[in-house]
């Protein structure tokens, strides 16, 4: 699945590079960092049960290649979301890293972007060492608004990461969803 998604993203990226937008545009690389707060939801397949819990404020790191014209932009990005923890006592840390394509519109210094891609899942240690459990990533999507002031970028992001936890013993797949609001700041090179 992840290999398939990577190929799709490379294909999208190549398409973008030769698109009319990119021909008339300039490109930049932006590095951003910020904080987000969100919630984690687990849907158990067999039990038809759902659990939800707040995830405390956590660090986000983002890197994006963006081709932009005066009023449009496209690009590719990557995001690293380490060490998330729900507020439950003794909760274990988990995380994600994502690769995605983005497209957006610009108005003066302001922008509105949509992002879609694939995220890999970093499971908690107890699930890493559990021979009966396997995990995979899932679809990542999000949207953001922000502005560029000189070479600096400020962004408010809503993103959703997905993962699948498979209980091999019972052949059950359970869905994990992490949705969050983030505030990121960065520098454009």
């Amino acid at each position: 699945m992840s290999k398939y998604m990577s190929l799709v993203l490379v294909f999208i990226f190549l398409q973008l590079c030769i698109s009319p937008v990119s021909l008339a545009a300039n490109y930049n690389f932006t590095v951003k960092s910020g904080m987000d707060i969100g919630s984690l939801t687990l849907d158990l397949e067999r039990e038809e049960e759902s659990f939800s819990e707040i995830v405390g404020v956590s660090l986000t790191r983002i890197g994006e290649f963006i081709y932009s014209s005066n009023d449009e932009e496209v690009g590719l990005g990557g995001e690293y979301l380490p060490q998330r923890k729900t507020i439950k006592k003794d909760a274990e840390p988990f995380g994600f890293y994502s690769i995605y394509a983005l497209a957006g519109i610009r108005e003066n210094i302001y922008f509105l972007r949509g992002k879609i891609g694939y995220n890999f899942f970093i499971p908690p240690q107890s699930q890493v060492v559990d021979p009966g459990i396997s995990t995979t990533g899932g679809i990542y999507y999000g949207s953001s608004i922000g502005c560029n002031i000189n070479d600096f970028e400020i962004e408010i992001l809503y993103g959703v990461n997905n993962a699948t936890i498979t209980e091999e013993n019972y052949n059950k797949t359970d869905q994990l969803r992490y949705s969050r609001f983030g505030f990121n700041m960065g520098y454009r090179f």
């Binding site: 729900t86 439950k88 499971p123 908690p124 107890s126 060492v129 009966g132 052949n171």
Partner: protein, 503 residues
């Protein structure tokens, strides 16, 4: 002024009298520590005392290769010293003790016991002519202190008992009806059949059954019993005890029936099933066979059993045994703290310890307590429920109760060669290899089986994880002091591996 002084004197006198009457006051007095027992039913081994000495030599200061030598030398010195004064002595860590013939106690475990507890000795003074326990205790204490030892405490060697019930509320005819559904009601209550869809246990999961032994030739058990790893703890004591010397430390066969019944609930096959479809059952015998009344299991044996099981590398210990210890007694409290430390050493080695809460629920009205070691924070204490999910009348409740499991008229394995006449009436009328028993002793192995299933699903699960998941998955039954976290749920406990890292 004079009247004022008289009033003050009266108040002070009254205060002194009142404080003098409190058990704590007596408990703090040296030599009087055995005066206060909460129950006259608390039994102890005559002529025996547990003497715990502080370890004065920090083990980290000794090089690794010298540690064992230093420890053994010290143990030998203590032994020779008390022997020279006419006492018989046994030390759990002693090299000469025959526990070493079964399993070499590692320096690591010895070191932990020495650091967390100290030198645990059993002193037998039956050959000495003392008027009472206190006289013997004071003599031993002064002898040791004169030699420079720091005595932590000295207590009587209290006895333990099987936690089976005398409950007899059903006839064989009623039991026949149960036969038609076999063990369905109790296993379905804890959702074992659903758990088996994915996890059935395996032979790598070792379950120690600290009990009366196991019928090693039982047709529904024999393939699961690891006789070589089993031990008769009663035979290990290195004192010149004629009754114990007759025992064979390799003989773990069960003539009583209690341990075999417990074993069958954890794992059995053919006409019955355990909670685990496969496991390695290690019998650790702490009770004698019927007819050996001169030998009885006690807390020293139980301490030894936990150390042995830990060293054997078991995953789970089922202790459907326990007992009452005197309350408001400083020295007994110190012993409990040391026993807890021993249980914690086992826990740190990855051993899950399941205990029966006790069957005095009916007899001690209004007195909420559970047996020791069930009341220890390092064990999972199990109470019993009936088929209607109500707490069994006999099941002890109180602070420290963790979970509930079926414990009334439980069908499980019975030794064919049963010497215990009290149990004969409990046999299944159509299958002499089976019998029905009731008690928290029967509830505990349900939970031990679930813990074993969890370990087989993921051998890397920590004790804390298993304990948390078991309790989290339990079906809430309301009153926590009566039901703990509720009735254990095998399927949900295993599935909790998906949920609990996050929620």
């Amino acid at each position: 002024m004079k009247r004022f002084l008289i009033i003050i004197l009266i108040i002070i006198t009254a205060g002194l009298i009142m404080s003098g009457c409190s058990p704590e006051f007596f408990g703090a007095l040296p030599g009087n520590n055995e005066s206060y027992s909460s129950s006259s039913d608390i039994n102890y081994s005559e002529g025996e005392m547990i003497v715990v000495l502080e370890n004065n030599q920090p083990m980290q200061e000794i090089s690794v290769d010298k540690k064992k030598e230093v420890m053994n030398e010290e143990l030998s010195t203590q032994r020779q010293y008390l022997k020279s004064h006419g006492f018989k002595i046994d030390n759990i860590l002693s090299n000469s003790q025959s526990i070493e013939s079964k399993v070499e106690l590692s320096t690591k475990i010895k070191e932990k016991i020495l650091e967390d507890i100290g030198y645990i000795n059993l002193v037998d003074y039956t050959d000495k002519d003392y008027k009472n326990f206190n006289e013997a205790k004071n003599e031993v204490k002064s002898l040791l202190e004169n030699k420079g030892y720091k005595v932590k405490y000295i207590i009587r060697n209290y006895k333990i008992k099987k936690v089976d019930s005398t409950y007899s509320g059903v006839s064989k005819q009623d039991n026949l009806k149960k036969m038609h559904s076999d063990q369905e009601w109790n296993y379905e209550m804890i959702r074992a059949p659903e758990a088996w869809e994915g996890v059935r246990g395996n032979e790598d999961v070792k379950i120690a059954i600290v009990d009366t032994g196991i019928d090693v030739d039982h047709p529904y058990l024999e393939n699961f019993v690891d006789v070589d790893s089993g031990v008769n703890i009663l035979a290990l004591r290195d004192v010149e005890d004629q009754d114990r010397e007759k025992l064979d430390d390799n003989n773990v066969d069960d003539k009583d029936g209690h341990g075999t019944h417990v074993a069958g609930t954890i794992s059995s096959y053919d006409k019955v099933s355990g909670i685990m479809k496969e496991a390695s059952l290690i019998p650790i015998k702490v009770f004698p066979d019927p007819g050996q009344e001169n030998v009885e299991g006690d807390f020293y044996d139980l301490l030894n059993a936990v150390i042995y099981a830990t060293e054997t590398g078991v995953d789970v210990i089922n202790m459907s045994v326990g007992g009452e210890l005197p309350k408001n007694n400083l020295e007994v409290d110190k012993f409990i703290a040391d026993f807890d430390a021993n249980l914690n050493i086992a826990r740190e080695e990855g051993v899950i310890i399941i205990t029966a809460a006790g069957n005095n629920g009916e007899s001690i009205e209004g007195s909420d307590y559970i047996f020791y070691p069930a009341s220890s924070p390092y064990t999972i204490a199990v109470g019993a429920v009936e088929e209607n999910k109500q707490k069994a009348d006999f099941s002890n409740d109180g602070v420290g109760l963790d979970v509930m499991a079926p414990g009334v008229e439980i069908l499980s394995t019975a030794p064919i060669d049963l010497d215990h006449t009290n149990y004969e009436d409990l046999r299944h009328p159509e299958d002499e290899y089976l019998m029905y028993m009731s008690g928290t002793s029967m509830a505990a192995p349900h939970v031990a089986g679930v813990a074993g299933l969890m370990r087989s699903a993921n051998p890397n699960m920590t004790v804390e994880d298993i304990e948390y998941m078991l309790k989290d998955a339990a079906k809430d039954m309301g009153n926590e002091e009566e039901y703990g976290e509720g009735i254990v749920d095998a399927y949900k406990s295993i599935r909790n591996r998906v949920k609990t890292p996050y929620f």
